[in-house]
Symmetry: C2
Subunit: 153 residues, 2 copies
Amino acid sequence: MKLSKTATLAALAVAYLSTRRNDGHIQARHVADYLHIPTDSALKVLQALARRGVINSHLGRSGGYYLENEPHNVTLLQIVEAVEGPIEPELPVESDGNGLSNPIDQLRKACNRVAHSMRHELDRTTVAELAEGMNGTPITPILATIEEGGIAH
Amino acid sequence: MKLSKTATLAALAVAYLSTRRNDGHIQARHVADYLHIPTDSALKVLQALARRGVINSHLGRSGGYYLENEPHNVTLLQIVEAVEGPIEPELPVESDGNGLSNPIDQLRKACNRVAHSMRHELDRTTVAELAEGMNGTPITPILATIEEGGIAH
DNA sequence: GTTCCCCTACTCGGATACACTTTGTCCGAGTATGATCGG
DNA sequence: CCGATCATACTCGGACAAAGTGTATCCGAGTAGGGGAAC
């Protein structure tokens, strides 16, 4: 079970946004600083999350990202599927009714069970749990809170 | 949940061997024909299985592979871990105690749960179930009781 | 004071280059069995 | 007839090339808000 780097960053990004729900729009640059990654990389993750409706975005000059949903209603499953696509059973062979079909069907069933249990487990972890205890402390150095009214509205 | 091609072939190979337990040593070439793949590819899968003790091999002129264990005692988990290595939780980041540690620890816990449930599910499917009803000798189910039905949604 | 227009700061989304993992193929080496040949 | 030697058919295991997938970076386009100029 390897959680991809993208999925990991996505989860941490959403956890971060959940601690700053009262700070208006958070720019991708600040999320990137928090995660210690280039802005472009953060952008890609945030865009994927926003496209799937896990987080929200605001266009324009004083735009940015923010978490509108309640943190305890956003689960790891939503985050992972937003950036990696749906978790669905997949077999690299097709049943070509040549005597192999039966064991392949059995394999497919097993695959279904595994995928289902993965989704179930991921759906049990919420962003509220991830962010528990980080209480919005602006991490490490960076210029996070400096800029003037960038966090308007 | 993507079952790798190697793992799929391994499962089908073991299922095949389980139907020929009374035929002595089965050569890699025959397994390859059954799976419609090159002998070399079958060899690699069979070797990995034999190294881990899932199946057995016999060296020399009239050598080959065979399944000594009872089919209902060999599970998908053993097969998958034999060819893909152990299924263990893995995060592409390390906790470097800088404020990120808490959400990362929470992620790690979630990852542990997912990995555990994957192993549990894979361990519930036996080779006897896979080979059930294959061409040739049917496998006598012993503690089968497969629960079928709408598991995926 | 009001309106219009431009400038800036940000997101959006595709395209591309890179790295890593998986997969497929090949080759040399080792081992057991059967056949052959000499005693 | 018996035993030692050789040839054969298979597995073993590493090495390597090819393909696929995930990751990092870049660039142009679009959008909203603020500031300045004209009226």
